[in-house]
Amino acid sequence: MTPSRRQFLSAALVGLPLKAERRVSGGFVNESQIVGHTLRDGIAFSPSTQRVKIPVVIVGGGMAGLSAAWRLDKKGFHDFVLLEMEPQAGGNSRSGENEISAYPWAAHYVPVPNAEAVFVRELMEEFGVLSDGKWDERALCFSPQERLFLHGRWQENLEPEIAATPKDREQFRRFDLLMKEFRASRQFTIPMEVGAKDAALDSLSVKDWMVQQRFDSAYLNWYVDYSCRDDYGALAKDTSAWAGVHYFASRQHDEKGPLTWPEGNGWILKKLLAKLGRYVRTEALVRQIRVDGKKYRVLAGDFEYIADKVIFAAPTFLARYVLENPPVVPFEYSPWLTANLTIDRMPREAGAELAWDNVIYDSPSLGYVNATHMGLRSRMDRSVWTYYWALASGPPVENRKLLLARNWNDWKEAILNDLARAHPDIRECVSRVDIMRIGHAMARPKVGAIFSEARRRLAKPAGNLVFANSDLSGFSIFEEAQYRGVTAADYVLRRI
């Protein structure tokens, strides 16, 4: 290796220790696939030894399952257990903490809910985030919310502005106007089931819709593609136009948000677990659900639960490994990678100040979220950055293989190389990189999936086993997970 100019310079100065290349520690964390793949690979389990009769079993301890539990408990129904395969419940809302800050592992915000999102508002009122119609100002994302690295420097906001042409601006304006019209149609709601009507948009991709609308600005196309990757883990060409429009048209912004916390949605999770922890059984992988007369036999570890009702809140694709007659699941799932970087010296950068969400233009990643942004400190000298990367280009199956095939060092290098575009000295500022690989992070609303017969059937509860994962909505966001969990719980309560 030829020494760099700087190494040469300091070597000339009597071989002094360099302020240079430092060792970065870290590894893979929360490896769900290890437990999950025992289901897929049909590993033989030892038989259950204890039998428990219980009216309701909830399968899956992510936001959907916990929301079902929250609803049951709130309605005064306590005879149920929630089974979670991981050592910690929470799914995509899990978080971590180090000596600098708490930080999210995946879901990190909830947009300020509209009036239709009654359950989200109810939950936020319960947690004191909403009181007398006012949002807690410490939970609303602080300024500056977003910035974009473009042409060598950071600008405020995500809509590209540096070197934008009049055509770019005109198309952004026209795009905004169209979204306003869609919003006014009241079909793009959260929860989506309340308003969803028209299937025409669902039959073409976002990309095709953009062409149809004569949107050819590179900036606008990047922006829309970024939004699809950010919310659905999919490229614009692989996303249903209905879902694409939903992203922009579903939110009425009367208050500048979103709601967020240092640990992201881990904050909501902690509050829910404090209340509902007694129902939760962790490391309880459900390996089989058998129909036995009018009952269900749910096998998990040493236990066999004999239940009247089952709420299946785990990702719906898992049903095919545990149910005798699994339903057709019309979704693909997007593989994701998230990483938490311990930043012990703030990296050099040019332009707009560090924001909450920091995006690099034309990067395959989604950028990073600064975990200490929601802290009260006025001066920051250390932080934790949560880096998001939806492996969107190419078939999900191939990307899942890639996700597992590459070792930690490869991913770490890829992440640091990406960040080095905006922060040349990033390698001198990072002491640790922990990486979480999620093979099936979220349902992907591909063309035709949302208005498919298969999705409608899944989403309509019937019988004694109901599905409740957010993927029933066609895309995975907190509000949909909560809505599916709560409505599944209501359905069960009506029939018990």
């Binding site: 300024s143 948000g257 802290g375 009260l376 000298d381």
Partner: protein, 498 residues
């Protein structure tokens, strides 16, 4: 001939002293604590000169050639000394090691010069005259250099270029010597070639000096920098011109000792004087101790809590004699408790209640500082004020940044407290604004402490009157999730600057 020789002595002596001064200045500039840095640099340098003198006895034949080589080495090493030191500070962790190695190296070479020169000249002069003349010009050179350095070189050329200039003088003396003593040297051509090479290298350095000195911010300040330190949080710079001491934090002027009394009297007394029997006072920011100095004029105040993020700031204003004279040693008062923490989280975890709170933060130049000017911050602050108490906030200029000023007023009003805006003229700042906030109706004080230089009871009501160009504006409050103040402030001050 002899005049020319003694001019050489004069020049090399000046060069030698310049390198020493540069090392000392750079060390105190970059490391702080100038007494320590200068003492150790001078000590090491003189000691190294002793080593040089000692080593001179081992130089035998070819005295003149040796002398020329040493001159060239001094020129090269000394000339690039400040560039080396800036680079060492920027790129290695061992600035001190490089500093002392360089000081010893240059000192040793310089220590060789005079003994060798005296031996070269010993056959041309009586010993008595030789010693007398050489030392006379040596000391004269030192005087010239020590006067030139602070008055002309540092202000006009900066440290990097000054060093290079004197390196060129050393090299020039070397070249010149090849002509003076050409009959005593064997390889004249080789020596001249090296001399020209060294000169050319230094010349390149001179041209490229801007790149090196960009690291130093000497040019930023109009007056002489007497203290400069990069702490974890900010760059503290003190400048002095005649009796005017100025403090800059990250390049923003904080006070000028000539008129700070106007600012600090106005900051403290309109709010504190009417609160009869105020006992507990909180100061947020204000690590210079000047607000505390004013608060200590009230014997009824029993305890003052000062929360300032930067421990180096409070340490500086507690120990530096020039600064303790300015704040009347207020930071060493036994009524004072200093807490070096970030104010917002500190308030958030603390439950104490105060009779008077002075908020003296830097202006909201970025979103991080802007957090300290939000409804969330003021609501939290309001919980720490007793019912009869008051808050005063330094609020930038209502003249230069009118919207920003009234935005702060509007933000404070969101707490439910009543607000009383006022302003004062501080020459070094211009027209400056403050906002008082209290639950009760504000009453002008009936009495002020002794020794006011600016405020009087008669003129106090004037401060609360706003002429037409500063009159109130309707501005949205500044919120954590929508910091309009930072954007207003940036726009308004940019308009002033251009």
């Amino acid at each position: 001939m002899s005049a020319v020789l003694f001019l050489s002595v004069f020049l090399i002596a000046a060069c030698g002293l310049i390198y020493e001064l540069i090392a000392g200045t750079l060390a105190s500039y970059l490391l702080g604590d100038s007494v320590l840095q200068f003492s150790t640099v001078i000590g090491a340098y003189l000691f190294a000169m002793g080593i040089g003198s000692f080593l001179s006895r081992f130089v035998g034949r070819g005295l003149v050639a040796r002398f020329i080589q040493i001159e060239l080495m001094v020129g090269l090493v000394g000339g690039f000394s400040s560039s080396f030191l800036f680079a060492a500070f920027a790129y290695t962790q061992s600035f001190r090691l490089v500093l002392y190695l360089l000081v010893v190296l240059v000192g040793t070479l310089v220590g060789l010069e005079i003994p060798l020169l005296m031996r070269i000249l010993k056959d041309r002069f009586q010993f008595r005259d030789l010693v007398s003349h050489v030392l006379t010009f040596d000391y004269l050179g030192a005087l010239g250099a020590s006067l030139l350095f602070p008055l002309l070189l540092v202000p006009k050329l900066g440290l990097v270029r000054s060093a290079i200039l004197f390196g060129m003088i050393n090299a020039g003396v070397a070249l010149w010597t090849t002509f003076l003593f050409r009959d005593q040297i064997g390889r004249v051509i080789g020596l001249r070639a090296s001399g020209i090479t060294v000169l050319a290298l230094l010349g390149c350095g001179m041209v490229g000096a801007d790149y090196i000195s960009a690291a130093a911010d000497n040019n930023l300040y109009a007056d002489e920098v007497i203290f400069s330190r990069q702490t974890r949080y900010q760059r503290i710079v003190l400048t002095k011109w005649k009796d005017d001491v100025r403090l800059f934090l990250s390049s923003h002027l904080q006070f000028s000792s000539r008129d700070e009394y106007r600012y600090h009297e106005a900051l403290v007394h309109p709010g504190l004087a009417p609160i009869a029997g105020a006992k507990h006072v909180l100061v947020l920011g204000g690590g210079d101790g000047l607000a505390v100095r004013e608060i200590l004029k009230y014997p009824n105040v029993e305890a003052i809590t000062l929360v300032d993020l930067d421990p180096e700031m409070t340490k500086l204003f507690r120990t530096n004699p020039m600064l303790t004279a300015l704040n009347r040693d207020s930071l060493n008062s036994n009524k004072l408790r200093v807490i070096n923490e970030d104010a917002f989280p500190w308030l958030d975890t603390n439950r104490e209640v105060f009779d008077f709170v002075v908020v003296d933060f830097p202006d909201p130049t970025n979103y991080s500082l802007g957090k300290l000017y939000t409804t969330a911050f003021y609501r939290l602050l309001a919980k720490h004020v007793s019912t009869r108490g008051a808050i005063v906030v330094q609020s930038t200029s209502p003249l230069f940044a009118r919207q920003s000023y009234w935005c702060i007023v509007s933000t404070l009003r969101q707490t439910g407290l009543k607000t009383y805006p006022y302003h004062v003229y501080v020459p070094s700042f211009g027209e400056w604004g403050f906002v008082l906030a209290a639950a009760r109706e504000y009453e002008l004080p009936s009495q002020l402490p002794e020794g006011m230089k600016f405020l009087t009871l008669e003129t106090l009501p004037e401060l609360f009157r706003f002429p037409n160009d500063m009159r109130p504006m309707d501005v949205e409050p500044n919120r954590l999730n929508d910091q309009i103040l930072v954007r207003l402030y940036e726009r308004e001050w940019r308009d002033i600057a251009h």
